[in-house]
């Protein structure tokens, strides 16, 4: 009797094991062409779209970027070694996630050093704000950057700032600096955003390259794009003001009604082109992602002006005719194909030689911008041979706004 009962219990145990083993969905293997190593992530994540045309799942798989246990079928085990949680582009883990010589930490000469540039960029280090505030309250003798949101170094500095030590509030004693550390460190690329949909963004590369507009709270987003809408920039910019008086952030209180009001907070004047376009239609990659050097101020890195596209009364804007099929402009256009850029096309370039690949000079000499996000085709004029009398040496936007501003 006892033996029979024992056998019965054993069978029940085996049947339970068989039943439990049959419960998970059938494993879905994927062998990405890039890695050649089979992974089973699609067993649960088969509904995720490709994150971008440049990163097809069939080519990259999941593990190359996200990490994780590629052969695990148990969720906890599979996710146990993922990098950055759901965001492998967080700057703390970006090198193993997005790096590699064929990916985003390749040679400077091939323009593949994105990670190094971003990590030394003013948007990542926040060194400008930290230095300015510490200098303003007499904590450091000059406004040259000493501290950053994290430690970073530049072994080939062109700015005289070879490294930044991490900003550590525990080592600060001035009350205003302490308040600054509590209230004003929400916008660098490693910082978690303030609560609220208007501030909603990821950290790291995804802060800009993963649009989060109208995202439901905690909704996962599997998108990367180089067509970054102004709304993504606005998760940090134009959201309000930091006050030196009380060292606090004061959110804007106006209600946006249309793109102009939505774009800029009501503190200034702007030309129509500024709010019709998206930020990335004019501002360049080195302005946003850094040029590889550590800078002490946003002003040191932001250099595009009205003249970059419109020229001055004496000079047309700089142009370049594409002759090399490997020109970076063609690659950038291929990544965001809003125009069919070809060898032989003439585009604008900045004074630092960065291609304005979405702005072409047509055969008749006219200029035409294509919105990188809106895809709008917008012809525009040079300043030369117009009634404009603006001094070529006074090209900051406020000079141009004196005649061309739209107020709101």
């Amino acid at each position: 009797m006892k033996r029979t009962l024992a056998a019965l219990f054993l069978l029940l145990a085996v049947l339970t094991a068989v039943w439990a083993n049959g419960r998970p969905p059938a494993p879905i293997p994927l062998t990405p062409t890039l890695t050649g190593e089979t992974e089973y992530c699609l067993t649960c994540h088969n509904d995720l779209p490709d994150i971008s045309a440049a990163h097809p799942t069939a080519v990259f798989g999941c593990v190359r970027c996200h990490g994780g246990e590629r052969l695990a079928l148990d969720a906890d085990l599979a996710h146990s070694s993922m990098r950055g949680g759901a965001n492998p582009s967080d700057l703390a883990v970006v090198e193993p996630s997005c790096g590699g010589s064929d990916c985003h930490s390749g040679a400077v000469s091939a323009d593949r050093d994105h990670i190094q540039r971003v990590q030394t960029s003013i948007q990542a280090t926040y060194a400008g704000a930290i230095a300015a505030v510490r200098y303003a309250f007499g904590v450091q003798p000059d406004p040259a950057a000493q501290l950053g949101a994290f430690a970073v170094q530049d072994t080939e500095t062109n700015t005289g700032v070879p490294y930044l030590d991490p900003f550590n509030p525990a080592q600060e004693t001035h009350p205003s600096i302490l308040k600054f550390s509590q209230n004003c460190l929400n916008c660098h690329l490693s910082a978690d955003p303030l609560p609220g949909g208007e501030y909603d963004r990821f950290t790291g590369c995804a802060a800009c390259h993963t649009p989060t507009q109208n995202r439901a709270p905690d909704q996962l987003t599997h998108t990367l794009t180089t067509a970054i809408p102004y709304t993504q920039c606005n998760t940090c910019h134009n959201r309000g003001n930091y006050s030196l008086r009380d060292m606090a952030f004061h959110p804007r209180t106006d209600e946006a009604n249309g793109r102009l009001q939505d774009y800029y907070q009501p503190i200034g004047q702007f030309t129509q082109c500024e709010w019709t376009l998206d930020c990335i239609d004019c501002h360049t990659r080195s302005e946003a992602m850094g040029d590889g050097d550590i800078h002490s101020s946003q002003a040191d890195i932001q250099y595009v002006q009205c003249r970059t596209c419109h020229g001055t009364i004496n000079e047309p804007p700089l142009t370049k005719t594409i002759t090399d099929p490997n020109d970076i402009a063609l690659r950038l256009a291929a990544l965001n194909p809003v125009i069919d850029l070809q060898v032989g096309d003439t585009i604008l370039v900045t004074e630092q030689g960065e291609p304005m690949w979405n702005i072409r000079q047509l055969d008749d000499g006219s200029l035409q911008l294509t919105g990188k996000v809106t895809e709008l085709t917008l012809p525009f004029s040079r300043v030369m041979d117009t009634a404009c009398e603006q001094n070529p040496d006074e090209q900051e936007s406020h000079f141009c706004h004196e005649c061309h501003a739209v107020e709101h």
């Binding site: 029979t4 056998a7 069978l11 293997p29 062998t31 097809p56 080519v59 099929p325 690659r331």
Partner: protein, 146 residues
């Protein structure tokens, strides 16, 4: 023929015998299920084997001038003046699948372009598409070797 009553009406199983038989039966079923599970466990292939030979069917399916994409092989079969050739559709940059345009193969991922013979025209790929072998059998059947 004499038939004894006992051969017609076998002796009923005793309770002890029934329980012993039932126990053995349950053990046997458990053992078989366990063996099945073990067999499944040890025969599971974690890595997916990638085939390297593809039967393409009769050569007349690839007429002169044709450019045929073989999706399972990630390759294009080209019938040109030089005969039937094959070129890999996998971009040597990062492994995306190139698309056939009017006069080139274009990579949709990062913009590399290749001539119809696979030669690199434009980076970021730093080499050309890989040439593949096509064999024609005596009965005019094509086989692609990747």
């Amino acid at each position: 023929m004499n038939v004894t009553p006992s051969s017609i009406n076998p002796t009923p199983l005793s309770r002890r015998t029934f329980l012993e038989l039932a126990g053995k039966g349950l053990l046997a079923v458990s053992g078989l299920l366990g063996l099945g599970g073990l067999s499944r466990f040890f025969s599971f292939q974690t890595e997916t084997a990638v085939p390297q030979t593809f039967a393409l069917g009769p050569a007349e399916n690839y007429p002169p001038g044709s450019r045929t994409f073989i999706s399972q092989a990630q390759a294009y079969i080209l019938h040109t003046d030089e005969g039937i050739t094959a070129v890999s559709a996998i971009c040597p940059h990062l492994g995306c699948s190139v698309n056939l345009a009017d006069n080139s193969f274009d990579c949709p991922c990062h913009g590399s372009r290749f001539a119809l013979d696979g030669e690199k025209l434009q980076g970021p790929a730093n080499r050309s598409l890989r040439d593949l072998s096509v064999e024609i059998s005596a009965d005019n059947q094509l086989t692609l070797l990747t």
